[in-house]
Amino acid sequence: MTIPARFTEPADTTVEAPPKAKRKAAVRREVGRSIPRLESHAKVDGSAEYIYHLRLPGMLQGKICRSTVPHGRIVRIDASAALAIEGVHAVITGEDIRTLIPDPYYGPAFHDQPILAIGKVRYVGEPVAVVLAADLHVAEEAADQVVVEYEPLEPVFDEVAATKPGAPIIHDSLRPAGMFPDLQYLKGRSGTNVALDARVLHGDVEKGFAEADQVFENVFRSRKVVHATFEPTVSLAELNGSNGLTIHTSSQSPSYVRAEVSRLLGWPENRVRVRTAFLGGSFGAKLYIKLEALVAACALLVRKPVRIGLTMEEEFYTITKHGATVRIKTGMAKDGRIVAREVETWWNGGAYADIGPRVSQKSGFTAAGPYDIENVSLINYAVYTNDPPAGALRGFGISQIVWAYECQNDIIARSLGIDPLEFRRRNILHDGRPHATGTIMTNAEIDEVLDRLSDRMHWDVLFDHGSGPVRRGRGLAIGFKACIAPTTSVAVVNVYGDGSCCVSCSTVDMGQGSDTAMAQIAAETLGISTETVRVIHPDTDVTPYDMATLGSRSTYHMGNAVRLAAEDARAQLLRIAAATLQTDIEELEYRDGAVISRSGARMTMRGLMLARFGMQAGTVIGMGTFTPPYTKPDPRTGQSPQITPYWMLAGAAAEIEVDTETGRIRVTKLVNVGDVGCAINPAIAKRQLNGAGTMQLGFTLFEEMRFNEGQVINASLADYKIPGMLDVPEDLSAELVEFPHEHGPFGAKGVGETGMFSVSPAIANALCDAIGVRIMELPLTPERVLRAIRESENRPLESE
């Protein structure tokens, strides 16, 4: 059951926002209730399942031996010393994998990543061999004994330098993967480190600059950071019957894993079973293939179950968030309106593309911001370097982009003497206006986001900037994202013989509360209480296809699929009632989990099952499939009438204190406003905003992977600090903007990433408000802030 395309016609192009009447929400019992998470008890008493804890009988543990050079040819791998250690079962190398999988390269965008290095390594930490032993300590010890000789090649780490002529080439040639429709236009390339350049052209940007009264140009940077999930990445594989394989994995994308592992093995998908449990966080780290292909190959080679669980240190060598360099040039008219904007972004994708091209393209096309700009040019380069691979991290690149445009907007506003809030009001993209891609902005509550920020911050009240060494400042920023398209979610709602009900779907609950939200949607539709619904965790043998749990898409896509599945089940129950009561379906009404006829007869779900199957048994299966419409953008101009199913608008504002003698920023107040359509569960939605805000606070103030010649030198939680409880601002709050989205389930949109978007520029803008110092590179560590202060006072701090 696919919802047909119904998007607002781009008829009216006046600048004034059309007045929007609040659509009145129907009376609801389950949706909109802040129900405690269904799994809370299990998580507290320790009974919740995590794959990291899983041990299989007869299992071997794998320890990965990793590259010690950033770029080099493998001359020789000598495993004899490792094999001599008692208890070592096998040492597997890339060549061994090839005996099973002749072409062992994987990846969602390009098939560029080998399961284990073949011939060449491209970053420090790249898996080169795996030692298998029943005892993990033995495997660890032996992994240190695998001798690998490299012939070093020149590395390149900087994303801009890597695009320059003469830079060492990291991949000799590229093969597009071709699985996802939004990435199908990717072309194979050779002789360059640019995996993809994606463009959006709108109006005539040169003309815009020529006509502008003033032009601003800045370069903003953000460094690589990591997801730091508390459950490290883990996968186990075991043989399943004579010709099948079961993979237990901490994955956000079980359906994808099944498809990709099947493709690698040359098997039909029905021979590979992939299951997940709760994930101890993921944030994009556990998407696509991480360890799954490796454990699958190992298990098939040794014919025994194999588990590989990473340590926290290894997480730093597995997947990271893109560092980015953003050059942004903006032409302004005297009246404070943006007339032209050009944004050029270099995305540091590391050694393997992973989902980098999507990050570059999807975030890239929003790089001018949620503003109404006549002339726009956006260029994005997904760049290979010899850093660890970069992929998705809660926002798919949006926060790196918002960092640039929202900092620059403040620079411009200050320079023109316009209040930063007023500056944004003058330029925002109102509902009904075309975005730079040509897609019309609809169901996006940007005015309301600004109003709420203003209210919460008492923006019109004079602000005390303090005196003495500690100064105070406040700042705000807005950002937006277009949800990924096109993707599909499928759900099944099972009504069992006794009338109880399960939702079967492949959405992974990784801490975001999707089980509860899906149960609420099913319960609302079936008129039962959420607490009685069970949600079956992803198991590709059982739960139907879902693209992946990513990009804040589950509530909207899977939410719609679950709603449709529940409606389908409800319709079947109504048909059973009609047959049993021998009345017309029109005579019947479904209410509170029961069917009621006009004559007053009432049949509960339990009763209906008994009636249909003649005993308290049987199953009614409702199915729902949801694929929102999408039109591929023109590859030359990036134009598309339907680039996204929905826009996610966000705003953040911060009050800070800055110690001008140490450079330390203390965020005293942080407000995060999210345009969520409808909060299926308001408490969870707010926690998503606050959680994301706190996560981005770490990326803003202190998180940064530090490298020395490609080697991460702070690869542990002892040295790489994420925010702790004491770093959370005393006044941390989230605000939900709720105008139902016309196609969202009960009006809902996604919210998982929204709270990340605007936090960094809000804090940097507050810093500038406090002391007039502008910093263009994240994170805003005390040292970086103090250096900038000293620079501005013309007494720079010594570099050593």
Binding site: T662, D727, E783, L797, E800
Partner: protein, 293 residues
């Protein structure tokens, strides 16, 4: 981690006896709270054959006033220090220093003795005790010997302790009881972060002349071991207490420090912190002196 023989001793005599017996033929390690040692056992290639657990040693567990001064037993935990009425009354800086060590779990297990013996330059237990001129009482096969804390540290992770010796007590000398002292730590984030720099300042006030008397400044994470800022101390001795004098002492202390650059911060930034923290620690100690007056 390899297997080892494990002894849990009931007091310091017992501990010394076990050490004497095994330290000749085996690699022996003492364990108190284990918060440093366990990490080391996991990651270090040289594992001990014998581990002696002193966490239950009765005579090393208390905080008492003696003729010599304030004695803190080696296995007194950071949490105990934070809760000790004597310490809170006489040396709030010590309680504050204990409070910034790790998390609740770390403080419940970690001991002051372990903190000093680990002897990392960034230790938070060191500077305050150094500013208070603490004496370390060491138990060995020939009985006790005493070493001033600033001679106890030899370098990063190195102390004067011999393989058969035990840190038994930390003694703050009688002459310094109640001496106004202030401790400050600066880490990259608020909790559970190594100090980029930490500092303690301590002095008596001659209220008649309003001058510094016996000023002591100790700095952590800016040299191979916790150090005293001797030039800054000399500058302050007998000088009138003014904000300018404290700021100047901070500048002078920078000359006493020799920080390095690492991924957490550059040496230049650490030097700046030395100036700021020294000044602020002096201001804090002075505020305490005024409050106690």
């Amino acid at each position: 981690m390899r297997t080892f023989e494990f002894f849990a001793v009931k007091d310091s005599h017992d501990a010394v006896a076990v050490l004497a017996k095994h330290s000749v033929s085996s690699k022996v390690r003492v364990i108190a709270g284990g918060t440093d040692l366990l990490a080391e056992l996991k990651f270090s290639p040289q594992s001990p054959n014998v581990v002696v657990d002193i966490s239950r040693a009765e005579d090393l567990k208390s905080i008492t006033l003696t003729d010599d001064g304030l004695s803190i037993g080696a296995v007194v935990t950071h949490s105990q220090i934070m809760q000790s009425p004597i310490i809170r009354e006489m040396f709030p800086a010590l309680a504050n220093a204990a409070h910034v060590i790790g998390a609740v779990q770390t403080r419940n297990l970690g001991t002051l003795g372990g903190n000093l013996v680990t002897a990392v330059p960034s230790m938070d237990g060191g500077p305050t005790l150094m500013a208070l001129e603490a004496i370390i009482s060491i138990a060995g096969p020939d009985g006790r010997r005493q070493v001033p804390l600033n001679e106890f540290f030899v370098g990063p992770r190195k102390t004067v302790l011999k393989a058969d010796e035990l840190l038994a007590e930390i003694i703050i000398p009688r002459r310094n009881l109640g001496k106004p002292t202030h401790f400050l730590k600066f880490g990259l984030r608020k909790g559970q972060a190594l100090a980029l720099v930490n500092a303690a300042a301590s002095f008596w006030v001659d209220w008649e002349k309003h001058t510094f008397v016996a000023p002591r400044i100790a700095l952590g994470a800016v040299a191979p071991k916790v150090i005293r800022a001797l030039q800054a101390e000399a500058y302050l001795e007998g000088r009138e207490i003014t904000p300018e004098a404290m700021a100047e002492a901070g500048r002078i202390a920078i000359g006493d420090a020799k920080p390095i650059s690492d991924f957490r911060a550059s040496a230049g930034y650490r030097r700046n912190l030395v100036g700021v923290l020294t000044k602020r620690a002096l201001e804090g100690a002075y505020a305490l002196a005024q409050a106690k007056r």
